[in-house]
């Protein structure tokens, strides 16, 4: 009995699926189901092989593109960005850096806290959780071009709704992926955010020290050179 179960589990979890275009498309289509039925769908995403890395990466790419599109093309009345200074690399980083930081810190912490998800599972679940950002923000950005100042709250409400929706999905995604209960997930999420801050702080500290070391080495080199 145990062997059979073990065999099936091995079959389910370990065996690599053949990745076909069809599968990726089907996975993408599944994201539309996921945003309305997160509890079931995150489970299937992990255990029924409905999610895969290429699909998650496509969603993440769309989120990045959507973000850039929003910053670039939001109606003039609502757009506070200086378009002459809009840097596409900075804009991409402002989505990707927090996202990967979330994934990595999530994995680092849940590994220690008996979470059931692998880094791959976390990546897929987190990326799929961002789907509402795409399907709300892009149409809102287009519509914002035909709105006037008095209709601005409409945009703000939708944008906030999309963010909250994604936040909730991220929460449920973490919960289902690691098979946690609500309290533990909430606690973990707080820890993850704290961890992200700590990592950022350390990164800044590291680069600052690296810079100082470089400056020191350079001045020593100069001193020797001019002596």
């Amino acid at each position: 009995m145990a062997t059979v179960q073990g065999h099936r589990l091995t079959y389910r979890y370990r065996e690599r699926q053949r990745l076909t275009v069809k599968r990726v498309l089907r996975s993408l289509l599944y994201s539309l189901f996921l945003i309305f039925h997160p509890n079931d769908a995150f489970w299937d995403l992990k255990y029924e092989r409905r999610g895969n890395v290429p699909a998650a990466s496509i969603i993440l790419g769309l989120v990045v593109l959507g973000y850039i599109f929003t910053r670039q093309s939001l109606g003039f009345i609502f757009n506070p960005v200086d378009l002459t200074k809009l840097n596409i690399v900075t804009e991409m980083a402002s989505v990707l850096v927090p996202f990967f930081l979330w994934c990595i810190v999530n994995w680092s912490l849940t590994t220690l806290m008996s979470g059931k998800g692998t880094l791959r599972d976390i990546y897929i679940a987190s990326a799929f959780a961002l789907t509402p950002l795409i399907i709300v923000n892009i149409p809102v950005t287009i519509v914002s071009n035909v709105l006037i100042l008095e209709e601005g709250p409409f945009i703000a409400v939708l944008a906030v709704m999309a963010t909250l929706w994604s936040g909730l999905l991220l929460f449920i995604g973490t919960m289902v992926t690691h098979e946690y209960d609500t309290t533990k997930t909430a606690f973990t999420c707080v820890l993850i955010v704290a961890g992200m801050t700590a990592v950022l702080f350390l990164a800044i500290l590291f680069f600052s020290l690296l810079n100082q070391a470089y400056v020191f080495a350079k001045s020593v080199y100069r001193e020797i050179l001019f002596r």
Partner: protein
């Protein structure tokens, strides 16, 4: 050969430089602030016309002059604090008389440390004398009229205990109410009625402790708290009166700046200044903060302000020697001035006033008065504002276009043209100009009108488009398009696994 070429080139460049620098050019780059708070180059707005010292006037050197006041029709009044005298001049800077002392009840008296000066339309000179705690009123010939002494009141608690009265500036409105700005006085301006009776304080600046201050206060012990400084409202630095009797007042900004460094107080003491420009009227928007190595850091500190025609006002920044001119909406029109030792810079500017469109700045450090005349650029802007205010939109547009020829960075000019086009119902063009001028509000208004026009033309298409969208959504739901798509994309391998959910289905014996 080489050195020769270099030498000739250098000479040519030197000559070209001498030729190219136009007469009246100044030593610094003029600028204005754009929508994003960045300084952008801007043409020179005001040029030094003349410098007037005490010796030029033939009254001997000035000593620590503190105030200047111009009253159209009556002349210019210069308060020479160090010499305790008032120099009365006509509008061509000829001395009419010098008031050194006056006779009060048969006794000759001098002004003791006079700091502020105001002249009413009838020609009464009000002088705030810090040394002897009073405001002296003289007539034009320098004869004593009356004086307003220390505030007296029957109301308990209105005047705080240990009150030290040190009047510094004074203004008198059309109803002949006197407002006195006193140094080290946190309750606001002192208001006196026609007869010189004290009525109360108005317009006290609000206290706004920062969050950090607040938290420190909370966690400090009682004894620590006693030793901390009190949260006192900042005092005003200077006041001026506008055409309709409202008071322009300047407030020191603190280390990090405040949005209400300039206030316009109505007779009940409320701040009614409009702050609808890109940035509130605070002088320099971008400045080095405290922790940089810049020798001059922190926000502008206004030391004096002059109300002008059409709600325009000019404020003098004592820290960097700059004069900032704003319109009635709070848009920064232009900036000029600098600190330094050359002729058109200031060493310690203390007071500002205007003669028509000319600006006079009293430089206490250089002991002289510097008169600046507007350039064509400044004149065009001021005229455009005047024309718009009096409803001459065509003329206003023409002037703003003239401004744009001189300064393509002038957002205000684009906005001005946009406003005129909006009034003429030319919405599409107005939108373009508002966009160039970064005016979101104006653009929104023009766009609202334009949208209505376009929507009326394409009403049928819009309705059709919305209908098609709704129909598409309905059909997708009705015929389960997504489920069908899903099934279509399913592989055989997937079909083998099927749709089961939950791990319990995995366990098969």
């Amino acid at each position: 050969m080489r050195p020769k070429v270099a030498c000739i080139t250098a000479i040519i460049i030197a000559c070209a430089w001498v030729v190219c620098v136009p007469a009246g050019a100044v030593q610094y780059r003029n600028y204005n602030y754009d929508f994003w708070g960045e300084a952008v180059p801007s043409p020179q707005a005001y040029i030094l016309k003349r410098v007037i010292t005490g010796n030029d006037l033939g009254v001997g050197a000035l000593k620590e002059p503190m105030d200047i006041f111009v009253r159209e029709g009556l002349g210019i009044f210069l308060l020479d604090t160090g010499n305790s005298r008032i120099i009365c001049l006509d509008e061509d800077w000829n001395v009419i008389r010098v008031i050194n002392d006056f006779e009060r009840e048969g006794v000759k008296e001098k002004l003791n440390r006079p700091l502020g000066l105001f002249v009413t339309a009838e020609g009464h000179i009000y002088v705030a004398c810090q040394g002897d705690e009073r405001v002296v009123v003289l007539d034009q010939e320098g004869r004593f009229v009356r004086q307003i002494g220390r505030p007296q009141t029957d109301i308990e608690g209105l005047i705080p205990d240990g009150f030290v009265y040190r009047p510094a500036k004074v203004v008198v409105d059309q109803a002949r109410r006197t407002y006195v700005l006193a140094t080290d006085q946190y309750e606001g301006l002192l208001e006196f009625d026609v007869d010189g009776n004290f009525k109360g304080f108005i317009g006290a600046p609000q206290v706004r402790p920062s969050l950090a201050d607040y938290i420190w206060r909370k966690i400090a012990t009682k004894r620590q708290r006693e030793r901390m400084g009190l949260f006192l409202p900042t005092e005003f630095t200077s006041i001026d009166l506008d055409e309709i009797g409202f008071i322009y007042a300047t407030v020191p900004p603190g280390d990090s700046g405040r949005y209400d460094a300039i206030r316009r107080l109505n007779p009940s003491g409320e701040d009614v200044l409009r702050r609808q420009g890109f940035h509130p009227p605070i002088g320099d928007v971008a400045f080095p903060p405290q922790w940089t190595r810049a020798s001059v850091w922190g926000p502008s500190i206004f030391v004096d302000i002059a109300a002008r025609e059409n709600d325009v006002y000019s404020a003098l920044d004592g820290k960097r020697g700059r004069v900032f001119t704003y319109d009635g909406q709070g848009n920064l029109l232009f900036v000029f001035g600098n600190t330094g030792d050359y002729r058109d810079a200031f060493s310690n500017p203390v007071a500002i006033d205007t003669i028509g469109r000319e600006i006079v700045v009293l430089d206490s450090g250089a002991k002289c008065v510097k008169v600046f005349r507007p350039t064509e650029y400044a004149n065009a802007i001021l005229s455009a504002i005047e024309c718009y205010g009096s409803g001459k939109y065509d003329e206003s547009t023409r002037l703003w276009e003239r401004v744009l020829e001189m300064d393509a960075n002038c957002d205000l000019a684009y906005q001005g043209i946009g406003q005129s086009l909006l009034v003429q119902d030319r919405f599409r063009e107005a939108m373009d100009y508002f966009k160039l001028g970064n005016d979101r509000v104006g653009y929104s208004e023009a766009y609202g009108h334009y949208r209505r026009e376009v929507a009326a033309d394409y009403f049928g298409f819009i309705v059709l488009f919305v209908f098609v969208c709704l129909l598409a959504v309905y059909l997708c739901v009705r015929y389960e398009v997504f489920s069908k798509l899903d099934r279509m994309l399913m592989d055989e391998e997937d079909q083998d696994i099927g749709y089961r959910t939950g791990p319990q289905t995995d366990i098969q014996v």
